[in-house]
């Protein structure tokens, strides 16, 4: 009896299986290479310039000497302020769209707006911020205007990722709650949000990288090439002041400031990467914590 004999068809099938596995595996591994190269390259080249003074002092001689303290503070200000606006609004809007909104023309328009807003190039957001916040609302070029511009930019992506996270909670959970007389809000608060919070937070925190890295929108709305921090208060910048930012500082040092040592720009890039990776790491740790409590 040779029912399981190796036919040409079987051999081909096994070979294809192996090839597919190797090929897809290689592609997946390949993703690690650019990351390691970027981080390694930037950090190694920037290492000599990363001293204590580099992180804690104001820049001197047109940025070619001294530190990046104001830019580091400015970037943190922009990240935190923009998220303070976009995260609550984005999450609430997504809850409405996913949990309450009926399928009608108004909802379709809102959804269409979200998708298209997500596709607007960042420089256009910058120009909008300049017109709307700087001039029309008279905020002037300021941290406030720049943060609001970043909020508008990150908002649609936060809405989209939050909706995704909410939609991953099975419909049967909601129906079970409605059936026992829970209101929609009770259902959302006790069942839907606790079980989607890890996905929601991941989506929100990933937007930090974008807010931190963008140059164009903040350049137009509130980030200066040079704005030293005087004194040592808790609030180092005033909201209506302009500030510095790492992304802008890097751009400026590399293109405008002649005579800046090369390792300086790599040190700034390393710092920017560090800020983003630190935030992402927080997100990952938080997610692991929340997932360990996932209940189905």
């Amino acid at each position: 009896m040779t029912r399981f004999a190796e036919t040409p068809h079987i051999r081909r099938k096994l070979r294809n299986e192996l090839l597919a596995r190797l090929f897809f595996g290689a592609m997946a591994m390949a993703m690690v290479v650019p990351l390691l190269l970027i981080v390694g390259f930037v950090v190694i080249k920037g290492a000599p310039a990363m001293t204590w003074e580099f992180f804690t002092e104001n820049p001197r001689r047109g940025g070619t000497a001294g530190g990046i303290w104001p830019a580091l503070v400015g970037t943190l200000y922009l990240i935190i302020l923009s998220l303070c606006v976009s995260a609550p609004i984005g999450v609430l809007a997504a809850v409405y769209l996913n949990e309450y909104a009926r399928e009608n023309w108004l909802t379709r328009i809102v959804n269409l707006a979200v998708v298209n807003l997500a596709g607007v190039p960042s420089i256009v957001h910058g120009l909008f911020g300049l017109g709307a916040f700087v001039y029309a609302l008279h905020f002037g070029k300021s941290i406030l205007a720049a943060s609001l511009t970043l909020s508008i930019m990150t908002l649609p992506v936060i809405i989209a990722s939050t909706k995704e996270a909410l939609a991953s909670v099975p419909m049967s959970f909601r129906e079970a709650c409605w059936n026992v007389g829970a209101s929609r809000w009770q259902t959302i608060w006790h069942i839907v949000l606790p079980n989607s919070i890890s996905g929601i937070l991941t989506g929100v925190i990933l937007q930090v990288s974008r807010a931190a890295g963008e140059t164009a929108p903040v350049m137009l709305t509130g980030v200066a090439t040079f704005k030293a921090i005087e004194g040592h208060g808790l609030f180092l910048y005033h909201l209506r002041e302009q500030c510095m930012a790492l992304s802008m500082h890097l751009f400026y040092i590399r293109t405008q400031a002649s005579g800046a040592p090369e390792e300086l720009s790599y040190a700034i890039a390393s710092t920017l990467l560090g800020v983003v990776l630190a935030v992402n790491a927080t997100a990952i740790v938080f997610r692991i914590y929340l997932r360990s409590r996932k209940k189905w």
């Binding site: 709650c177 059936n179 026992v180 829970a182 209101s183």
Partner: protein
């Protein structure tokens, strides 16, 4: 003559353009078990969702006609949550909410604003006993409801449906995901509950309706083909030939 607990008059339901219930009328007596049989897509689940108005949450649905529970029009009721608390609903697939076993059962009373711990403790035990689950879970009320086996989760679902002290219990094919032994245990529970509740038993198992229901409705393609005492429906000569054929497995 017993009182009518639920009266349905000329109920029409459509999803968008497609009408799935074509004007059905019937009444459910107080403290009876009404069996509802019929093939898939005949509108059984939709009918239940109209009664407790969760149909409102499905986009594009239109409901016409009237449903009265205890004489009150459900579409005019001021407090839809009170209406839903009056009706226990058990879905085909077991749904353990991602909460502890205790919280699963305490969820409905808490939603209604009851937070007295001593009362809740007693109540949770009572509901779990009624659903024949207490002995299996009494030592682990703090473990997750979602970690229970399918049959246990279905009994947890029933305990939850009983937790808001309903006067009506709707079971929607409760036994499709559980084994025959568990099914028989739940059927015994239903026989007990019949004393204090009105039960609508939607089922795919013709024999189940025969075992439990005093009267049975045969729903087909959104219309009531026949509704009569179970003896007639499952007997040799129901009024409609299609009933005989469906019940005896000739079609459907």
């Amino acid at each position: 003559m017993t009182r009518d607990k639920i009266e349905v008059e000329d109920l029409r339901l459509s999803y968008g353009e497609k009408e799935v219930l074509h004007g059905i009328s019937f009444a459910v007596h107080e403290n009876e078990i009404l069996g509802v049989i019929g093939p898939a897509q005949s509108g059984k689940t939709s009918l239940l969702r109209c009664i407790n108005r969760t149909i409102d949450y499905t986009a594009g649905t239109h409901v016409h006609g009237t449903i009265r529970v205890d004489g009150e029009d459900v579409r005019r009721t001021k407090d839809v949550y009170a209406l839903r608390r009056k009706i226990g609903m058990v879905a085909p697939l077991p749904v353990g909410l991602p909460l502890t076993i205790y919280d699963n059962v305490a969820f409905a009373p808490r939603s209604a604003g009851v937070h007295d711990r001593a009362w809740l403790d007693q109540h949770v035990e009572k509901c779990l006993r009624q659903a024949a689950l207490w002995d299996e879970v009494k030592d682990r009320l703090d473990s997750l409801g979602t970690k229970l086996s399918g049959g246990q989760q279905q009994r947890l679902t029933i305990a939850r449906a009983l937790s808001h002290e309903p006067e009506i219990l709707c079971l929607d094919e409760f036994s499709i995901a559980i084994d025959p032994v568990t099914t028989m245990r739940i059927e015994d529970v239903l026989k007990e509950l019949r004393r204090e509740m009105t039960i609508i038993l939607v089922t795919n198992l013709v024999q189940q309706a025969r075992r439990l229901a005093a009267r049975t409705m045969f729903l087909w393609n959104g219309e009531i083909v026949e509704m009569d005492s179970s003896d007639v429906i499952f007997g040799d000569r129901p009024a409609d030939r299609r009933t005989y054929e469906y019940v005896n497995g000739i079609f459907g």
